[in-house]
């Protein structure tokens, strides 16, 4: 399954995931504690530098992921322009872009397996309260495995619909789709039980 980790290998790929996440928390708290446009422009510039350091294709990939924020930026800037409060609007927009940018940076430089390791570490204390942390990891693995399988089955259902119906794909296709998911779940549960269970 494709993850959002950048294929461009950066130095940050080797850093411990826990440290990156802690740094991100700290940076986000700071972003929301500081007011003042100059500061925020500085933070944004620093974030953009971090994107630029690993090279052009990493920078491009990062910027593509920030595109979803443009509609919000436009709405907020227009809103604050018309309410004569442009400076505050600019702070909100710049902070939003920096916060999302930094968070994406952690995702782009951290492998899924490293993230799961952090989850394992964080969930360790739960074991004392009788939570089976192994089942969390198994559930993660199942979702990672079955999302592409289900998506593939969904495509097949959509094709079957198109082959038979003159109308375009409608909501009715979701019922058999959910049935496929339920059946897969029952089969996997049976297979797990047959192999000794959890």
């Amino acid at each position: 399954m494709i993850s959002l980790t950048s294929p461009v290998e950066t130095r940050a790929h080797g850093w411990p995931a826990g440290a990156k996440l802690a740094g991100l928390c700290l940076a986000t708290v700071m972003l929301f504690a500081v007011e003042g446009l100059v500061w925020h422009l500085g933070f944004l510039a620093a974030a953009l530098c971090m994107y630029a350091l690993p090279g052009w294709s990493f920078f491009q990939g990062g910027m593509r992921r920030l595109r979803v924020l443009w509609p919000f930026a436009v709405i907020i800037l227009l809103w604050h322009y018309f309410t004569n409060d442009f400076a505050n609007g600019a702070v909100i927009v710049v902070r939003m872009i920096t916060a999302v940018g930094l968070a994406n940076l952690v995702t782009m430089t951290t492998k899924l397996s490293d993230m799961i390791e952090v989850v394992r570490w964080l969930s360790a204390p739960l074991r004392r309260f009788g939570v089976q942390t192994r089942s969390i990891e198994l559930a993660i693995a199942l979702v990672v495995r079955f999302t592409p399988v289900l998506a593939q089955k969904g495509q097949t259902l959509a094709l079957a619909w198109k082959a038979r119906a003159a109308r375009r794909l409608g909501w009715r296709v979701i019922t058999p789709f959910a049935i496929l998911a339920i059946d897969d779940a029952e089969h996997v549960a049976e297979a797990l039980r047959a192999r000794g269970g959890l």
Partner: protein
């Protein structure tokens, strides 16, 4: 135990897959993604606890960096963006949907699922979504609500459809409808 686990995992995968398959047209030709419908179905089919856990597993994997949200979005940036409230609201929406479904035992399954989906998948989800917008964009309740009001009718339709779909699932796989067992 195994069955609960695999149903939770497969419904988390179902939410993801509903965001991946091509967009549908509603009766009026409005294209939608069915992802939020997946959240509603978690509650109506699996019930409060398991449905909530399935949606929690889904957003957990989004946070770990899998591109599971509609449009291939994912990663930690999602939780810093203005729409974070909607994503964070997924598990609570599924939980409330399931809770309502379990409360409305007297109603026929389709009706119960439809009303429960409106309560959980629309009322609760938008409460979280609008709250997130208020925090991220520093807007008051009215302004933040104005930004998302256009999407409410579509989601109300999805909730009604979730009712029909749940009724269909109850006929096809009655044993798997954990919210009523």
């Amino acid at each position: 135990m195994e069955r609960s686990l695999t149903l939770i995992a497969l419904f988390a995968a179902l939410i993801a897959a509903l965001g991946l398959i091509p967009k549908f047209d509603l009766a009026f030709g409005v294209p939608i993604t069915a992802q939020s419908m997946g959240v509603m179905l978690c509650g109506t089919v699996l019930g409060a606890k398991r449905g909530g856990l399935a949606a929690l597993l889904f957003i957990g994997l989004v946070a770990l960096g899998l591109p599971l949200l509609a449009g291939g979005r994912g990663g930690l940036g999602v939780f810093a963006s203005p729409t974070a409230g909607f994503v964070i609201g997924f598990p609570i929406a599924a939980f409330v949907t399931g809770l309502a479904m379990q409360q409305f035992r007297a109603l026929p399954i389709g009706w119960a699922a439809g009303v429960a989906s409106i309560l959980g998948g629309v009322v609760v989800l938008y409460a979280f979504g609008i709250g997130g917008l208020m925090v991220a964009l520093k807007k008051d309740l009215l302004e933040a609500s104005g930004l998302v009001l256009a999407f409410v009718p579509g989601d109300l339709i999805k909730a009604v459809l979730a009712g029909f779909i749940t009724a269909g699932l109850a006929k096809a796989r009655p044993a798997s409808l954990l919210s009523r067992s």
